[in-house]
Structure formats: C-alpha cells, structure tokens
C-alpha cells in the first residue's frame, strides 16, 4: 500500500464522514461503512490485478470527486425525509450539476486570459481593459473576480433556461387543453429562445455595469481598488448563492411529474449549446486580445496553458456527458405527456 493509496483512502473516508455528519445514526453509519468497504475492495482489486498503485489511488479519488453532487443531494434527501425524489428530478439535477460544473470550468479559462472584456473594447482599444489592468497586480484577486462573475452569469443563464422550461411546460399543458394541435416541444423551444435573449440581455447589462465600475477601479490608490473588487466579488458571490438556492427550491417544488425525458433532452441540448457557444466566445475573445496585445499571450506561463487546455477538455467531456445522459430515445419516441409514462417505482 503506497502513501498515495493511503491518502486516497483517507480522503474518501473523510469526505464520507464529512457529508454524513449530523445525520441520523442508521443512514450515517451505513453510508460510512459502505464507502469504507468499497474503497478497501477497490484498492484490494487493484493489487490483485497488479495495477499501478498510483492509478488505483487516482481512480478512488476520482470516484469520490465525481460523486460529490450525488452525495450532497443524498444528504439533503436524508435530512428532509426519504422518498421524495423522482427520476425526473434526479435527471434534472444531473443536467444542472453538469452545467454548473461546465460553468465553473469555463471561468478559469477566461481568467487564464487575465482580461475582462468591454463591449466597446474594440472601438476603444486603449481603454478596453482598464479594469483588468487595475487588477492585474493582484493575480489571485483577478482569478477570483473572474470566476465569481462568470459563475454568476452562467448560473443566471442556467436558471433562466430551467425557469423557461417549467413555465413553458405549464403554459403548454394549459394551451393544449384548448388547442390540441400545439405540441409541447414547440412551446419549450420558443421559451428556450426567449431565455437565450433574456440571458444575453442580462449579460449585456452586467458588462455595462462593469464598464461603469471601471471608473471606480481607476481610484487613485491600490487599496481603494482592492476594496472595490472585494465588495464586488462579495456581491456577485451573494448573487450566485441566492440564485442557486432559489433554483434548488424551484427544482424541488416544481411539478416534476409533468417534466418528461423529452423536456430534459431539450434542456440538456440547450445547456450543451450554451457551453459550446461559451467556448467559441472565449476563443474569439482570445483572438481579439491577441490582435490588440500580442504580448499578453506570451506572458501566460506554460503551466497556465496546460491548465487551460485541461479545463477545455474537462468542459467538453462534461458537455458530451450532459448530452449522453439525456434520454434521446424518448425524443425519437415522441412522447411528451406524463400520462404516457409507464408507472413504476411508486413510493
């Protein structure tokens, strides 16, 4: 047993101890014992197959990391009582989690370019990146700043898609009760397009706010700039927390029995498209930067490039997974009513 194997085992077991803390004894002890036995079996299996210990240890760590969202959801279910989650809810959470991961992955990519854009930047090249110039002397603050802002925008976009989905579903059901020729997907796609328009509106508004904030960031002393950035980051963090909480409540309370795999397919496709569009946007952003300031790219260290490449790959994997998760066969089947669903798993 190598040091890394011991560390992996300790991390997996410590994580299970952490997320089960404060739960009733039965589920708490059961989950801890199961994870402990699982990790032991995994390490033993690696030894039996003469697998490199490092590889086995990393696999154990990866399994813990990939299950974090489900661990937290499970804890939430145990806390609020068993048997309230439907498969549709689980699918919705999965799609949401994948999208949040993707948003989180995109933010550092943008931060790697170390610039925040100004919508008028191309026209006012010499003033386009004042804010990032002001922050560039504090790399960590800059990174946190970009992560928080892009995280907030990403979460807001996802929230709008989800809201649009639920609203359109409700509207579609009401509409079809009078006009049976209108199918739910038409309404949902229209709502998704509307969601994109609104999301871009919010994006433009936030950039406008950032442009105004530049004036503040031109404060005479670094300490003022620092104070402004910290305040702004706290505000955005609060926004992210509030939106996330609101979204979680919405997902819990929504009439999820009416949400079918078809709806989630549309949601997943919309989310994946947004991820791809974001990647394209970041790439265009980088090209524009390169055209204006070729020296900026040479300032990025090799480790930064490697990190960005890794994040791009992770993001693409997450986007593909989000697509693979969705039940495309249901879209081909063309069912959209909850009443079409075969009843099962009644609890």
């Amino acid at each position: 047993v190598t040091r890394l194997s011991r560390l992996a085992r300790r991390i997996a077991i410590s994580w299970s101890a952490l997320y089960t803390a404060g739960l009733p004894e039965e589920p708490r002890e059961r989950r801890r014992a199961e994870v402990s036995a699982d990790v032991d079996a995994h390490l033993a299996d690696g030894r039996e197959r003469w697998e490199r210990p490092t590889r086995t240890a990393l696999a154990v760590l990866a399994r813990s990391l990939r299950g974090v969202v489900h661990d937290l959801v499970w804890r939430s279910q145990v806390t609020r009582g068993p048997g309230r989650e439907t498969p549709a809810e689980t699918r919705g959470r999965d799609a949401l989690a994948a999208a949040l991961w993707a948003s989180a992955a995109l933010a550092p990519i943008a931060a790697g370019f170390a610039k925040l854009p100004d919508l008028n930047g191309l026209a006012r090249a010499s003033h386009a990146y004042q804010l990032s110039h002001a922050v560039s002397q504090y790399p960590l603050v800059e990174l946190a700043f970009a992560i928080v802002i892009l995280g907030a925008v990403g979460t807001a976009v996802i929230a709008l898609f989800t809201l649009g989905l639920f609203w359109s579903k409700t509207a579609g059901i009401a509409w079809r009760s009078r006009r049976r020729d209108l199918t739910a997907p038409v309404v949902e796609i229209a709502a998704s397009v509307l969601g994109v328009v609104v999301a871009f509106g919010i994006l433009a508004w936030s950039y406008s706010m950032l442009s105004r904030a530049q004036r503040i960031s031109n404060a005479p002393t670094p300490s003022w700039r620092m104070a402004f950035l910290i305040a702004w980051a706290m505000l955005c963090t609060a926004a992210v927390v509030l939106v996330t909480r609101g979204l979680t409540r919405l997902v819990r309370r929504a009439p999820l029995d009416a949400i079918t795999g078809q709806d989630l397919t549309i949601l997943a496709v919309a989310l994946s498209s947004s991820v791809v569009l974001s990647l394209v946007g970041v790439a265009c952003w980088g090209v524009a930067m390169l055209a204006q300031a070729p020296s900026a790219l040479s300032a990025i260290p090799a480790g930064g490039w490697a990190a960005m490449l890794a994040l791009v790959i992770v993001t693409l994997i997450l986007a593909v997974r989000a697509l693979r998760r969705c039940p495309l066969h249901e879209l081909r089947g063309g069912t959209s009513d909850a009443s079409d669903s075969p009843p099962a798993l009644r609890r």
């Binding site: 699982d38 079996a41 033993a44 696999a59 990939r66 489900h70 499970w74 309230r84 439907t86 099962a344």
Partner: protein
C-alpha cells in the same frame, strides 16, 4: 399534484441487469464495488461508477423494493481482514421491473439506448 411516479433511470436499469447477470453466474448477492465493476465491464465504460452515484442508486432501488440488502456476517469480514460489506440481492419485483423496462424500450425505439452507467 398527481402521484409521484417515475421510471428506472438508465443507471438503475443497468444496475439491476448486472445484478441479474451476477446471480446467473452464481453470485446472487453482491456488494457495492462488485456491482460497480460489473457495470463497467458490461457497458465498456472506462471508469467505475462514483461512490455517491452508486450508493444513492442502490438506496433508492432498495426503498422501491427492487433490491433487498443485509450486512455481511462479521466472521466473514474478520477472516478476510476487511470491513463488513453490505450485500444486496435483486428481488422478484426488481426482475419484473427490469423486464418491463426492457420491453418498453424495445417498443419505443429499435435502437440500443446510449450507455450512461457512470457519472
């Protein structure tokens, strides 16, 4: 709101299918890691199902009556010098539900469903 109904998630269906296969191979009871390995081998996935995903799915299937479980005898664990394992077994309801899901899949689409076993 109407009664909360649902279907087996792809992972859950895969899990029951793997458990049925294990039972046919002479292992009617399985523990978490064993089923994760079986799912990986069956689906050709590169990685094992995550801890959180796997045990959440197992718990849900058990609450639904599609699986049942018990703790391994302490002596068996002591002899092997390892922690006790939770052993699961597919119920008759579980096998019926799997057959129903597979049948419904064949009716909805002739194409095989995409593999979604790992998270």
């Amino acid at each position: 709101m109407a009664g909360r109904t649902g279907r087996l998630l792809p992972l859950e269906a895969e899990l029951i299918a793997c458990a049925v296969e294990l039972a046919r191979d002479g292992a009617p009871e399985f523990h978490g890691f064993a089923i994760a390995k079986q799912i990986r081998d069956r689906t050709g996935a590169r990685s094992l199902t995550a801890h959180g995903t796997l045990y959440k799915a197992l718990g849900r299937l058990e609450r639904s009556g599609l699986l049942e479980s018990r703790w391994e005898e302490p002596e068996a664990a002591a002899v092997a010098s390892r922690p006790r394992r939770r052993l699961y077994r597919v119920t008759e309801n579980g096998e019926r539900e799997l057959a129903r899901v597979r049948s419904a899949e064949r009716q909805v689409s002739p194409l095989p469903r995409p593999s979604t076993a790992t998270s």
